[in-house]
Symmetry: C2
Subunit: 147 residues, 2 copies
DNA sequence: TATTGTTATACTCTATAACTATA
DNA sequence: TATAGTTATAGAGTATAACAATA
């Protein structure tokens, strides 16, 4: 008995950019998740590490804003990175409420290797798109939600 | 005291298409979620309803494949749509294991209204992009993951 | 034996709210 | 009073695994 007598179609949904975006994002997320596992990172901790390296001594609250998540979520994230000795919580003189987050040498090294792995992941997942198309995709995505 | 003495940057991350995709997707997801609430639908139940209308008498297993989720997840989804009288589980003659899913007249009516609302939502969220750019974005997204 | 639908359970990600210590 | 960080809790969304009925 033919298993696929009738192919299921999704024309109703393919007309929506949001549908195509979700499908594409889930593929990226899965492959990226596997890619980062090797470094003990998740998508969000990879992002956090990137922000901390780029903005030394950033506070947890500012990091939360940059990542668009709540401060309570950052605590767990920073705990995770600190436990792995990838970043350190340093005290700020003049304000004992906040921490200055900074990547350790190992954190910088891991970031460098993870960055390369993520580039390889993007080569894989966007193999169907040329360099110009990838750039155009990134540009279009960056303009979403800014009427 | 200037709250934003130093702006947090994310150049390390903006180079990655996946980062831009996540950011864009989360904005779409949030606005779409609010849009669908009015119809008692979630992103996934909206998609399920669309597939069922387009493919009358589809089984739950085939629906699971189309939505790229597990069969167990479809049970909850179909329960939800059936409770709202938007679809019906009909018995299949010749195979008493499976159901033939079909939208009710009300399901079709709700879909039509929801579809219009989702179009309005996309007009809103993609306001910064012209029609041609939206089409290009959709095309590019559909080609992700297909080396 | 394989497939369909089902249930129970667990995991990931994130938000909310209440708290503390500082300012 | 306001802010930074923390904790506990809860809610989506989805996966895994075991199961009954049917093929």
């Amino acid at each position: 008995m033919a298993k696929d007598m009738q192919e299921i179609t999704d024309e109703n949904l393919r007309q929506f950019a949001g549908y195509n975006m979700k499908r594409a994002f889930l593929m990226v997320r899965d492959d990226l998740g596997r890619t980062l596992q090797e470094f003990g990172l998740r998508m969000t901790s990879f992002s956090a590490l990137a922000i901390i390296i780029e903005n030394p001594d950033v506070s947890q609250s500012r990091l939360a804003e940059a990542l668009h998540i709540e401060r309570s979520g950052v605590v767990v994230l920073v705990d995770e990175l600190e436990s792995a000795d990838l970043i350190a919580r340093n005290r700020v003189e003049g304000d004992r409420r906040q921490y200055a987050l900074r990547a350790t040498p190992e954190g910088e090294a891991v970031w460098t290797r993870a960055e390369a792995a993520v580039h390889a992941h993007e080569e894989r997942i966007f193999a169907g798109l040329g360099a110009g198309e990838r750039q155009r995709l990134a540009d279009l995505l960056r303009r979403v939600g800014r009427g």
